[in-house]
């Protein structure tokens, strides 16, 4: 009863423009995660393993407390993510809402990262350079660590110049898994 009631409330809220943040779960070979969107676009991809409550509290605090589960708004995002994990998609066509990304250098790093093609990698220094500050490779690492939309903005494609994969929000195994999925490790 409560589920369908919640769905009806969310649907009416969306129709009346009251649903600032809609979220849903997506499935991946690494487990389920959370995706969230505002009317502007995708605002958050939480990797599997991040507790749902933590994700929703961050959205409530930093975007809007009007957060409701409403999978319909995320149909396209979930479809594209599932296709990506099945190896059927090499880029995303989702409008993004950058609300959770700190403006300035952080956002420039994420935009530069968004342009790294499927199956390719860049070093932290190269991404820093493309974001306009060649010597800020550490800050680039911080920007990528705070990426609100991993996978869609492929921060896993940024690796250490020595060949080591470097850190990843979902853990180093996840980074390796994603790069293997893209065939990026054979290439380098």
């Amino acid at each position: 009863m409560t589920t369908t009631l919640a769905e009806r409330i969310a649907a009416r809220a969306a129709a009346e423009g009251l649903l600032d943040v809609a979220y849903a779960t997506y499935e991946s070979p690494l487990g389920a995660g959370i995706v969230a969107a505002t009317p502007k676009g995708l605002v958050r991809v939480a990797l599997p393993g991040i507790p749902e409550a933590e994700v929703l509290e961050q959205l409530a605090r930093a975007v809007s407390p009007r957060v409701l589960e409403f999978p319909r708004r995320l149909d396209e995002a979930r479809r594209e993510l599932e296709e990506y994990f099945e190896g059927k998609r090499d880029h995303f066509e989702l409008p993004l809402d950058w609300s959770l990304a700190r403006p300035g250098f952080y956002r420039r790093v994420l935009r530069a990262t968004a342009r790294i093609p499927f199956g390719r990698t860049l070093s932290y220094a190269e991404v820093a350079a493309r974001a306009g500050s060649p010597r800020a490779h550490r800050a680039a690492g911080s920007a990528l660590g705070a990426n609100p939309v991993p996978i869609v903005v492929p921060c896993h494609r940024v690796v250490r110049s020595g060949g080591d994969l470097g850190n990843y929000g979902g853990g180093p195994e996840m980074k390796r898994f994603l790069l293997e999925l893209e065939g990026a490790l054979d290439r380098s």
């Binding site: 409560t2 009631l5 919640a6 009806r8 409330i9 009416r12 809220a13 009346e16 009251l18 649903l19 943040v21 979220y23 409550a53 929703l56 509290e57 959205l59 409530a60 605090r61 930093a62 975007v63 809007s64 407390p65 009007r66 957060v67 409701l68 589960e69 609300s99």
Partner: protein
Amino acid sequence: MTETRASLPPFQALLDEHAQAVHAFLRGMVGPDDAEDCLQETFLAALRAYPRAEPANLRAWIFTIARRKAIDHHRAATARPVPVADPGELAPAEASDAPPIDGRGSALWSAVAGLPPKQRAAVVLRFAVDMRYREIADAMGTTEEAARRNVHEALRKLRASAHELKEAMR
């Protein structure tokens, strides 16, 4: 979109936590048939006002909205040319798909429906939602003492109706 209004939980958490209790309250206030409509109206109104809500006592806040929605519902209902249902019209079939407060049929239900709004709200919060007097006071914007008085007065009237009913059925 700033970080000033800290600590308001995501609305979904509020919904998950309170929907059932608010539903029970509204069943007692407007009857089982209209409770779900009122419940939707309650949570939509809450969502509308949510960014300005005071995080300290959201339970009382949501019940305050629910009580207003129940009052609106009664106003709308009395504006319609339909008489208030008498006990005979509250058919057993209707009562069975969402039983009244104690499941013992429509007599108690119509006695509750006949209470003045404040007493009705207080007694429903006390027994259908299982609130303590302190919480009833918060939800109704009264003192704890007034909440207690409302519940006691309601119970006195319900006992009297039960007595009358017994007499009438002899």
